[in-house]
């Protein structure tokens, strides 16, 4: 479980996060949603330690992550997997080398053990047999899946995904969502997903935090979305007239 306690973050005079308090639960897919500029990516970067909060605490269990020294922070980071928006795969390495990199760096496994683990992860993301391809030779969706494989190769306790569906077609987005959800449930890890994708919200939103102008505007789960009378939530989720009509039909208005 990860807790953000009264997190504030400013860049110069601009206060991006204005006191966010929320909990990301273990074994669930926790979604951070909100309009562009709401502070989602900043919150995610604060959670993984790429940014430091101006004030407030990011708690991993009992440890205040933001106050840890470099070595202790690194120890927690080794329990974190992260899927980046652009996948952040190393271009000059093959798919296999990309996934094997954390194993090479942090474990003393034999070559065979590493290869077995890489192949397991590739199989898990349905990319078996693509070991020797380079990131530039596979599609955007496949790159995301390689990114997921790399992020789970060390069996993390925490998985962060920054807009995993951006730039993907709806079918592939669904596949990625299901994959992340299945991995979260199977491995009982804390997954935090930063997304714009409304299909994801309704598909895997087990714990949803809506950010609006740097504040937490709503928190709930996918089953509560339809019935919520929070205007900001309804404006955001059902932004188009088509979706508004769908919602009205669904709730019988």
């Amino acid at each position: 479980m990860i807790r953000a306690v009264n997190i504030k973050k400013s860049f110069g005079d601009t206060e991006v996060l204005k006191g966010i308090t929320t909990t990301f639960e273990k074994g669930k897919t926790n979604l951070i949603i909100g309009r562009s500029g709401a502070g989602k990516t900043v919150l995610l970067k604060l959670c993984v330690g790429l940014l430091k909060p101006t004030s407030g605490e990011i708690m991993y269990g009992d440890s205040n992550f933001s106050d840890l020294n470099r070595r202790d922070m690194r120890a927690i980071r080794m329990e974190i997997g992260m899927l980046f928006q652009g996948s952040a795969l190393f271009d000059s390495m093959t798919v296999e080398e990309n996934i094997r990199f954390p194993l090479d760096m942090f474990t003393n496994k034999t070559k065979k053990e590493k290869l077995d683990r890489v192949n397991y992860c590739l199989e898990r993301v349905q990319l078996e047999g693509n070991n020797d391809k380079f990131p530039g030779e596979v599609s955007g969706g496949m790159q995301k899946r390689v990114g997921i494989a790399r992020s789970i190769v060390l069996e993390p306790k925490y998985l962060f995904c920054d807009e995993p569906n951006s730039g993907l077609d709806p079918k592939t987005s669904l596949l990625i969502d299901e994959l992340i959800h299945d991995i979260t449930t199977e491995q009982n890890i804390t997954t935090v997903i930063n997304t714009h994708d409304m299909n994801s919200v309704m598909q895997i939103g087990e714990n949803i935090a809506l950010l609006h102008q740097g504040r937490l505007a709503w928190q709930g789960n996918k089953d509560m979305v339809m019935d919520s009378d929070n205007e900001l939530l309804q404006d955001f989720i059902f932004a188009s007239p088509f979706l508004q009509r769908l919602r009205k039909a669904a709730v019988g208005e």
Binding site: M78, M82, G86, D91, F101, M105
Partner: protein, 248 residues
């Protein structure tokens, strides 16, 4: 101006402190250092060799012209080519060229990794990126560049021989006599000191420029250019300081 300099100097020192820590896994750093040695060393052989030939040839030709109708013996050409090459031209010109080739490459490589979030990805894995991305490059350069400089000195002296003997400026006996005259092993020591210091400057300054890149491709280009410019300035400045210290 001064504050800006202090800001960058402070940040440079902090980056170096992070880079000079115990590696997470020695074998990975060793592999990366070997790769860098190959890239920097083998990858620079042609350009270094080509420049060295012309350094020697031009030095020999110009001194031959200056010594015309003088009482200075002709074999001095070989002596002058040898000493000017070893003391100054081989380390300085080679490293100025390598600052352009290797330095800009380092800044662009690390800067590109920063922009594509590769560095963030490694940080989140728990990798000390300052150390993993910079230390192998600095160590590789400090080992390989002195070798390149030494090779450049040999090639340059050979270039001087070719240019002066083949064109009939002096005989080969005279040139070889000059090369073997008044030899001071201490000058070779000076050459290696310069090569090691210049190698350190051109890699660490370039890595610093790349590591802190922000923005897009224009900023990456600027970082690459700044890496070369600052490396060149610092190489020339340190050349002067080393010359003062080692000739006191």
């Amino acid at each position: 101006m001064n504050l800006n300099f202090l800001y960058h100097f402070g940040r440079y020192l902090i980056l170096l402190r992070s880079a000079l820590t115990r590696p997470e896994k020695f074998s990975m750093y060793w592999k990366e250092t070997m790769r860098q040695m190959n890239d920097i060393g083998i990858g620079s052989l042609v350009i270094v060799g080509l420049i060295a030939v012309f350094i020697g040839a031009v030095t020999a030709t110009q001194f031959a012209y200056q010594l015309q109708d003088s009482f200075v013996p002709a074999y001095y050409i070989g002596y002058i080519v040898r000493d000017s090459t070893i003391i100054e031209l081989a380390p300085t010109i080679t490293c100025l060229v390598l600052a352009g080739k290797v330095g800009s490459n380092i800044a662009a490589e690390i800067g590109g990794m920063r922009q594509k979030e590769h560095i963030d990805a490694m940080e989140i894995m728990g990798v000390n990126t300052a150390s993993y991305l910079i230390l192998p490059k600095v160590i590789a350069a400090m080992v390989v560049i002195p070798m390149l400089v030494c090779l450049a000195a040999f090639i340059s002296i050979w270039g001087g021989y070719t240019a002066s003997v083949a064109t009939g400026l002096i005989t080969d006996v005279e040139y070889i006599q000059g090369v073997r005259s008044f030899f001071e092993p201490y000058y070779v020591f000076m050459m290696f000191v310069k090569a090691v210091v210049f190698a350190y400057i051109l890699t660490s300054v370039s890595a610093y420029q790349g590591y802190h890149v922000k923005g897009g491709s224009i900023e990456l280009g600027q970082a690459s250019t700044q890496a070369v410019v600052y490396s060149d300035i610092l190489i020339l400045l340190s050349d002067y300081i080393i010359a003062i210290i080692l000739t006191m």
